[in-house]
């Protein structure tokens, strides 16, 4: 069957984005990219992907907004509380045996998971020995992560999640409410390095004890997932931990054998 015109245009658009802006979405899972680019077409009032390509190539000012369509920034603090409970009860006791720790939040988006982990590590007495690396390809999202300001109407959900994750303190200890927003305590990020990093095109940058990369790999093709798992394998210290999203798994990857299940239901793996 010949390619639909729309699919030819899609390939060309992603190639144009790569060559002009060096963001490589060419090997992403296409069904989701296509949906989001359709939303971008509607927003930019373009009839076709070709029109969108024209706009993007000739008006650099639209690209940051375009990037917000290409990357999914849906997150919440302590999302899937059972994951954080498993970290608290099962993984952190192992991490306690190290004198210093490095933790990588790969695809940190607007920072919800970073603050969740910082609070968890503080509650469990590990914060002082830990460096956090929060990376994403979307620099606008990274700026928001660094600011640590979340809309107040999201706080009840975050609070409930934190409680279910076995939280030992009150979430309200960590933020100040002002003008409809919760501003998180900046000491939570005093040991965090925020950085622009791509799992698609960048290399390993430090040896990690724990990598949390949740609901990022679902947007990748299997080939790209393999590249990311390769990075994680190279980056993790011996017996380091990898945490994935609740419906992600390493089973279809060629790096399956580099890891053993540590807490299968919580998608926590340990490098062997």
């Amino acid at each position: 069957m010949p390619d639909k015109t729309e699919d030819i245009e899609l390939t060309l658009l992603l190639e144009a984005i790569y060559r002009k802006y060096h963001y490589d979405f060419r090997d992403y899972a296409m069904a989701s990219i296509k949906r989001r680019l359709k939303q971008a077409c509607a927003y930019f009032e373009c009839e076709t992907y070709s029109q969108l390509q024209d706009l993007i190539l000739h008006d650099e000012s639209v690209f940051p907004r375009m990037l917000s369509y290409l990357t999914v920034q849906v997150s919440e603090m302590f999302r899937d509380p059972s994951y954080f409970l498993a970290l608290r009860e099962k993984v952190l006791p192992h991490l306690h045996t190290y004198p210093s720790l490095k933790v990588w939040i790969a695809g940190c988006s607007t920072g919800e998971e970073l603050y969740s982990l910082a609070i968890l590590f503080r509650e469990e007495g590990l914060e002082d020995r830990t460096m956090f690396y929060a990376t994403d390809i979307n620099t606008e999202a990274l700026k928001k992560a660094e600011a640590g300001v979340f809309a107040m109407d999201r706080i009840p959900l975050f609070t409930e999640n934190h409680r279910k994750s076995g939280g030992k303190t009150s979430l309200s200890d960590y933020y100040t409410a002002a003008y409809g927003a919760a501003v998180f305590d900046k000491t939570l990020r005093q040991k965090t390095v925020f950085s622009d990093h791509s799992l698609v095109s960048d290399a390993v940058f430090a040896e990690m004890h724990f990598i949390s990369c949740r609901n990022v790999l679902i947007y990748f093709s299997r080939e790209l997932q393999n590249r990311a798992f390769h990075l994680f394998t190279e980056s993790l210290a011996h017996r380091g931990f990898l945490g994935l999203g609740s419906k992600e798994n390493i089973n279809f990857s060629k790096y399956r054998d580099a890891f053993q299940d540590f807490s299968r239901v919580d998608r926590i793996y340990q490098k062997v």
Binding site: D7, A29, M30, A31, S32, K34, R35, R36, V72, V74, N215, L217, I218, Y219, S221, R222, Q225, G245, S246, K247, E248, N249, N251, F252
Partner: protein
């Protein structure tokens, strides 16, 4: 043929649908996994809190994108991506439900040459969903559950059913 099922469920509970349906179905019933190849003769259930999308090379992808019409998984997201991947080799069925989710997607299935079927709203426990689907896709065939069941049983192995 593969069968792919979306049921709106609370997001914070593990779905037990596959456990409920497994003993009642001759075909294997499993929850969709990300990047899993789509196999004939298998019934796939969407997991709670994730959209299910169909890739052109016959794989599933999951997504945490925003809910659509307050739903994740969304029927529209499944239908639209399935219509794009399978074209006329697809059947879309909208059953009872209390939201208009699925209406836009069913029209895309019909527009791509696939077969659209809607449960007779008069026989549905909640008629909002089939009524919305008929409004959006007036060419859809209307069936009650008994007829739909006979119809599906008579079907050959050539179509995908979402």
């Amino acid at each position: 043929m593969p069968v792919i099922v979306v049921v709106h469920l609370p997001r914070d509970k593990e779905s037990v649908l596959s456990e409920i349906f497994s003993p009642k179905c001759k075909l294997p019933v499993v929850e969709v996994q990300d990047k899993e190849p789509i196999m004939n003769g298998t019934i796939y259930i969407a997991p709670p809190d994730y959209h299910v999308l169909i890739e052109k090379n016959r794989f599933f992808s999951l997504s945490s994108e925003e809910p659509v019409i307050f739903s994740r998984p969304s029927i529209d997201v499944l239908f639209e991506t399935a219509a794009d991947a399978y074209g006329s080799a697809l059947m879309g069925i909208v059953l009872s439900g209390a939201s208009p989710d699925g209406a836009a997607g069913l029209k895309e299935i019909a527009d791509a040459g696939g077969l659209a079927i809607v449960q007779d709203p008069a026989t549905a426990a909640a008629s909002v969903m089939p009524e919305a689907a008929l409004l959006s896709c007036p060419t859809a065939q209307i069936m009650d559950l008994r007829r739909l069941s006979d119809y599906l049983k008579s079907f050959s192995e050539t179509r995908v059913c979402a």
